[in-house]
């Protein structure tokens, strides 16, 4: 073991094999894992024990922030800083504040959704060690891959490699850092 390893990766022929293997890996207690497939696999989230994203909650508070910003801005301008008589209406004309506040709610919720998503999934990411395995290019065509990171608490090179070998993979690769 001369080079530092990022982890171990097993290649599978079918989606079913991948999901079965992912279940076994989770049951064995590995947590820092990932799966790669040419198309979305709905079962894989459960199989790997991936938790629900907190993004919806962030979007909600982003929207709420936009709403408060919109109301606050208009109350400050029209009521506190520069009260202006518009057609005899009260300075605190809440119906007129609704459209702009609504738009700011949508805007900040949208921004939170996009930038929160990028922040949480770490994109854009120009370099990732998994691409050091030449056959990994097939993950976007016809093969399925399961990765166990070296950073996992349960990781041990020999033991993990033997364990992945039991899951009937096509091959197990060392992923170089």
């Amino acid at each position: 073991m001369q080079k530092k390893l990022y982890g171990l990766m097993a290649e599978f022929d079918t989606a079913t094999d991948l999901v079965d293997a992912a279940n076994r890996v989770r049951e064995a207690g590995y947590t820092k894992t990932d799966a790669f497939s040419p198309f979305p696999l709905h079962e894989i989230d459960e199989a790997l024990g991936i938790k629900r994203s907190i993004l919806p909650l962030l979007v909600f508070f982003g929207g709420l922030g936009g709403l408060l910003l919109g109301i606050g801005m208009q109350v400050f301008v029209h009521y506190i800083d520069y009260p202006l008589n518009v057609g005899g209406r009260p300075f605190l004309s809440w119906p007129a504040f609704v459209p702009a506040s609504y738009e700011l709610t949508i805007l900040l919720a949208g921004f939170t959704a996009v930038f929160g998503m990028l922040f949480l999934n770490g994109l854009p990411r120009p370099y990732h060690p998994v691409f050091n395995v030449p056959r990994f290019a097939l993950a976007s065509r016809e093969k399925f891959f399961l990765l166990v990171e070296a950073a996992d608490a349960k990781y041990d090179y020999e033991e993990t490699k033997a364990f992945l070998g039991e899951l009937k993979p096509q091959e197990v690769f060392d992923v170089e850092e």
């Binding site: 709905h42 989230d45 919806p56 909600f60 057609g87 209406r89 119906p95 007129a96 609704v98 459209p99």
Partner: protein, 405 residues
């Protein structure tokens, strides 16, 4: 391939039908006695029941065409519900008859003096003859939508193979496109005649859309409630899954927002314009107890359902979503009462009444009477056909859709 027998309505439908008919009959007797002593109040309450329940029947025509146009699993799942609801049209017409014959006891404009500016400028439009003629024409339009859509759907069930079934689906889809436009126009005219004319000196150009959006919301809520009731019985337990409810919940959320959007648009424009002939509508409704209904609608027809329906987990649980659907249906009735209750009365010579004086026990009894009859007729229509479109080319895909994430 599935046979007809696989998708027959469960036997419980008969039980629901008798319960509905019984409740409707008792309430109807109470309403009839009350109306004998106070014709105007009786008819106003009847109109409330009519406009709420006909909303489910007439609104389902729009949703039926909408699901043909958009496609999607939710449409396949609720198609037989909205079809059955659209076939209640004959009953809706019968329920309309008291209003048609009691026209001059219900609408204050029939007692306006001939030199009133609304009567002068609207001319022939404001005569009882033209009002009756128009109402009959609306029903002919609705019938011309209900009849072919239901006929083609039955023909699809009887198709020999999926190619023939796909042709019937294509025909219904092609029909729905242009007819959708006509439908919204007819609903606009009909609701202006039936509800907005209660307030003859006031007008709103978004009026029809308030009903189109509100009726769609009511139909989605009604479908969710019925599907949740059937979801643990055969045959629907083989069909429905959490993702179907998730999709219908999203539609409930969307139409809750559309309803709010249209209502607020109307309010904001009238508030900004500040013209006396428009503002009277809201000035009266922000006083005399009606302001509590207005605030209640904002909180419980919008804010509360909106915040609850935002949550993904809530929409995936059939029973929880169904309880919200029931709540929204009650708020739909309150919304209709907010439109009808404060309007001018004949007995007070064109003045509206405060909430507590306006509210009558018949406002509760009449919607139950109409609702009981409507539900009984709906269940009768619903049980007549398989409760899923058995030959639809997208049936299997729609069923599989429910099990996904």
């Amino acid at each position: 391939m599935n046979g007809h027998g696989d998708y027959q309505a469960p036997a419980e439908i008969k039980k629901y039908q008798s319960i509905a008919l019984g409740a409707g009959g008792i309430a109807f007797i109470a309403w009839a006695i009350g109306t004998y002593f106070n014709v105007e109040q009786g008819l106003r309450s009847w109109l409330l029941g009519f406009i709420f329940w006909s909303g489910l029947g007439l609104g389902s025509i729009g949703v039926l065409m909408l699901q043909y146009l958009t496609g999607g699993a939710w449409g396949v799942v609720i198609r037989r519900i909205v079809e059955a609801a659209s076939r209640t049209l004959p009953l809706i017409f019968v329920v309309f008859l008291p209003i048609l014959f009691g026209l001059t006891y219900l609408y204050e404009w029939t007692h306006l003096p001939a030199d009133d500016y609304a009567m002068v400028h609207r001319g022939w439009f404001m005569t009882t003859e033209s009002w009756i003629l128009r109402s009959v024409v609306y029903f002919i339009f609705f019938a011309a939508m209900v009849y072919p859509l239901n006929k083609w759907s039955a023909a699809q069930d009887a198709s020999k193979d999926h190619e023939e079934a796909a042709r019937w689906l294509g025909r219904a889809t092609a029909f729905s496109g242009p007819t959708m436009v006509i439908y919204v126009l007819v609903v606009t005219f009909a609701t202006v005649d039936w509800v907005m004319m209660l307030e003859p000196h006031w007008f709103s150009t978004i009026w029809g859309f308030l009903f189109v959006a509100g009726w769609a919301l009511a139909i989605f809520s009604f479908s969710v409630a019925l599907l949740a009731l059937l979801s643990d019985k055969a045959p629907m337990n083989r069909v429905l899954d959490k993702r179907h409810f998730h999709d219908l919940g999203k539609l409930m959320l969307a139409f809750t927002m559309v309803w709010t959007y249209f209502n607020f648009s109307q309010f904001l424009i009238i508030w900004s314009g500040n013209i006396p002939e428009e503002t009277g509508y809201y000035i009266f409704r922000f006083d005399g107890g009606w302001q509590w209904i207005a605030g209640g609608l904002l909180l419980f027809h919008f804010a509360f359902p909106f915040l609850i329906l935002l949550q993904q987990d809530f929409k995936r649980k059939a029973k929880l979503l169904a309880s919200m659907a029931g709540f929204i249906l009650v708020m739909r009735l309150v919304d209709m009462y907010f439109l009808i209750g404060p309007t001018p009365r004949i007995e007070t010579h064109g003045k509206g009444l405060p909430l507590l004086e306006s509210f009558s026990w018949m406002d509760i009894v009449a919607p139950i009477a109409v609702g009981g009859f409507w539900m009984a007729f709906f269940f009768y229509q619903y049980a007549k056909r398989p409760i899923m479109p058995i030959m639809d080319p997208f049936l299997q895909r729609a069923i599989d859709h429910g099990k996904g994430h």
